[in-house]
């Protein structure tokens, strides 16, 4: 019995399920973010500016950048869970063609339950510490899909097996404190995919895990992508994880997208000096003794108003024009880059 058939049970929610499945065709955009601007401090500062990206069905898109670059704000805006004081000032987020701007709280809840799931860095803090994880998963199923108690339990066990928890029966009865971080993250993924969503948003979902567990979670996400056509928006500051997992990479710097394209393109033929610098300092599974490179300087403070390129002050290739002229994103062959000099520079991964 394939996992896919398992997930089409139970019968009660068949109507809903076929409805959703009917909309799904390969390559369709499940999430489209268009020209998104997010302000913080009640509109005082623009922390994310003009971000456009799309996640297609069966595709893992990685958002990478240093802390404070706006990647997490972007994905929180996509989930409609911005913290108080943060607002979407411009642009739109849409799921399968529906603009979320008109969503009521109720509509958001329905979307979060059935069309998009989310996983975060610290799985323990999203679960009630005194309730067995299986029951929490079953409750999520019952509230979102309205299955009966018995069906919910059965589905919960199937989901736990789906995410690679072999001994699902005993995990079902355990409280979060009895499970390791890796197992908790699997449970969170099970909850996230319980509504059979089209999109999984994972914000630093593997950052706190041990490397051996991280490798297993990455495999799990890839398997869900392949078997269920899940679109994944994966946020990480670790370029190595991104390179293992993602089909496409979006590079954030100081609240803007500086480069986006297929993973292989970005890693082998970076066209933005910041991407190249990140590749230079990242540890890409290279265990030879090497000089530890750094990117000199600090990123501009959040919301800083700069006339030109935001990376210019740290860039070895910056000219006077870079500092004074606004730079638009230019795209060619699916590889977008925000750099005035991207055509004249020939950057490689390892050159400095």
């Amino acid at each position: 019995m394939s996992t896919d058939t398992q997930l089409r049970e139970p019968e009660t929610s068949d109507a809903l399920r076929t409805g959703v499945a009917g909309q799904r065709s390969p390559g369709q955009d499940v999430l489209v973010i268009d020209d998104l601007t997010v302000t913080v401090h009640n509109g005082a500062l623009e922390a994310v500016r003009g971000v456009s990206l799309a996640v297609r069905r069966g595709e893992v898109v990685g958002l990478v950048g240093e802390s404070g670059s706006g990647k997490t704000l972007t994905c929180r805006a996509a989930l409609g869970i911005l913290a108080p004081g943060c607002h979407v000032a411009e642009g739109s987020v849409s799921f399968g063609g529906q603009d979320t701007a008109e969503f009521s709280n109720k509509a958001w809840r329905a979307v979060r339950g059935s069309r998009v799931g989310a996983v975060f860095q610290d799985p323990g803090s999203y679960l009630n510490p005194s309730v067995p994880v299986g029951r929490q998963l079953a409750e999520a199923l019952r509230s979102v899909q309205g299955c009966s108690r018995k069906q919910a339990k059965q589905r919960a066990l199937e989901l736990l097996r789906l995410v690679g928890l072999r001994d699902a029966e005993s995990v079902y009865r355990q409280i979060p404190g009895e499970l390791s971080g890796g197992m908790l993250q699997r449970v969170m993924i099970a909850i996230a995919v319980s509504g059979d969503p089209e999109l999984l948003v994972a914000d630093e979902a593997t950052t706190a895990l041990d490397v051996t567990i991280q490798a297993e979670i990455i495999e799990l996400i890839l398997r869900l992508r392949d078997e269920r056509g899940l679109g994944v928006l994966f946020v990480s500051h670790d370029l190595a994880v991104i390179s293992e997992l993602c089909d496409r990479v979006v590079v954030f710097y100081a609240g803007e997208i500086v480069e986006a394209g297929p993973t292989e393109e970005i890693l082998l033929r970076p066209r933005h000096p910041y991407t190249q610098a990140m590749l230079r300092v990242a540890s890409l599974g290279d265990y030879t003794r090497r000089t530890l490179d750094v990117i000199e300087g600090q990123p501009p403070s959040v919301g800083a108003q700069l006339p030109g390129c935001r990376f210019a002050d740290r860039c070895g290739f910056a000219t006077e024009q870079c500092r004074t002229t606004p730079v638009a994103i230019s795209s060619g062959g699916g590889h977008e880059v925000r750099c005035l000099r991207s055509d004249e520079l020939s950057l490689t991964r390892l050159a400095s």
């Binding site: 019995m1 996992t3 240093e66 802390s67 097996r161 789906l162 690679g164 072999r166 001994d167 005993s170 390791s180 971080g181 041990d210 490397v211 051996t212 567990i213 991280q214 490798a215 990455i218 495999e219 890839l222 398997r223 392949d226 500051h237 670790d238 370029l239 190595a240 994880v241 390179s243 293992e244 993973t263 292989e264 890693l267 082998l268 610098a277 990140m278 300092v281 990242a282 540890s283 890409l284 599974g285 290279d286 265990y287 030879t288 003794r289 090497r290 000089t291 530890l292 490179d293 750094v294 990117i295 600090q298």
Partner: protein, 370 residues
């Protein structure tokens, strides 16, 4: 003449040696065996990396060296002085001497939020109570200079500076006492790659310029590869491998070390092919699926560190003989310095893998049994 003898000795003598240390935390029925038979040495000017996953006991090891946890067995020596048995005022005197310093993992928690950077860095000197306030001010500024921080930060509070700066303040606070040994607990795990390399480079420079010995605790192997001389791999309270880092990483002798290295995120395969290949076929990197035991059941593992090899439940090479605790065995090294592995099959598992397994590796991750 005695002076010559002593100076001659101090070169050979390890700065820190931990010998057969066992640590139990908690009391009575609740006591947990955290470390078993741990040995390690750090020589002057050496950087030792300690790797292990959550719960492997690496933080407890550091805390034991610092005297924050007491070994139930074994001893810890600093040069030739036994420090693990010190108590009360003797321990306090040793701490005030400042020769061993600890840098906590999270500076946001280990730096008092109410103090300024100047007060924080000065704390050790003020506690010593010997230096004049003028001297303290000078040494605080000197220590800030070593870690590359500007004096304008002196009056700032920890919440007002960036993560990388806070970690530097933590290090400056330790360095101001001019220690011989610095123990850093996950010094870079909270930082992004650029800041991470910055801190690691700083530690490397301090080793060169000040002859400082450093123990870096980490769960991230690749950050250690850049600077450590030796690496010690802990698994569930036992040292499974301890050797020169370049050789361990090139050809790990313990299946767990091999699994760790293979699990670390790396460039995906087609990209990796474009890197220069290692010359020898033997050094071809192993794939994580060759090393992982598919139906490993870690939940039912007994917590008894004396009941055989600690890794056997997750080891795909385990046999009946692994029911006994493997003794640490010496492995020849190219550059000296000792290389010890605690595995019954350390010389045979790789051959087993190369003979039989490579063709069987599935292209996609295995579907899980139901």
């Amino acid at each position: 003449m005695t002076a010559t003898v002593e100076s001659g000795r101090s070169v050979d003598l390890p700065l820190l040696s931990v010998e057969s240390v066992d640590v139990h935390l908690g009391r009575g029925r609740r006591a947990a065996h955290i470390l078993s038979q741990v040995d390690l040495t750090v020589r002057p000017g050496e950087i030792l990396g300690v790797i292990g996953e959550t719960g492997s006991g690496k933080t407890t090891l550091a805390r034991t060296v610092m005297g924050l946890a007491d070994p139930s067995q074994g001893e810890i020596r600093l040069q030739d002085k036994v420090i693990s048995s010190l108590r009360g005022s003797a321990r306090r005197d040793l701490r005030r001497g400042g020769s061993v310093q600890f840098v906590f993992q999270d500076p946001l928690r280990s730096l008092d939020p109410d103090l300024t950077v100047e007060q924080l860095v000065a704390e050790g000197l003020v506690t010593q109570g010997q230096a004049s306030s003028h001297e303290i001010a000078t040494r605080v500024r000197e220590a800030l200079g070593w870690v590359g921080l500007d004096e304008s930060l002196l009056s700032k509070h920890p919440a007002q500076i960036s993560g990388g700066q806070r970690q530097r303040v933590s290090i400056a606070r330790a360095l101001v006492l001019r220690p011989q040994l610095l123990i850093c607990d996950e010094p870079v795990s909270a930082l992004d790659s650029s800041n991470r390399n910055n801190i690691l480079r700083l530690l490397d420079e301090l080793r060169t310029s000040r002859g400082l010995s450093v123990i870096i605790i980490s769960h991230d192997l690749s950050s250690l590869a850049g600077i450590a001389d030796r690496v010690l791999v802990l698994y569930r309270g036992r040292v499974v491998e301890d050797g020169p880092i370049s050789e361990v990483f090139a050809r790990p002798r313990h299946p767990y070390t091999a699994l760790l290295i293979a699990s670390a995120p790396a460039l995906s395969d087609q990209l990796a092919d474009q890197r220069p290949e290692p010359s020898s076929e033997q050094h071809r990197p192993l794939h994580v699926r060759q090393l992982r035991l598919v139906d490993a059941d870690t939940a039912t593992v007994s917590n008894d560190l004396e009941a055989g090899c600690v890794f056997r439940a997750r080891c795909r090479f385990a046999t009946d003989v692994c029911g006994t605790v493997p003794a640490a065995q010496d492995v020849p090294t190219a550059h000296g310095g000792g290389w010890r592995v605690s595995c019954h099959h350390h010389s045979t598992w790789r051959a087993e893998l190369e003979d039989a397994d490579r063709p069987r590796v599935p292209a996609r991750p295995e579907p899980l049994p139901h």
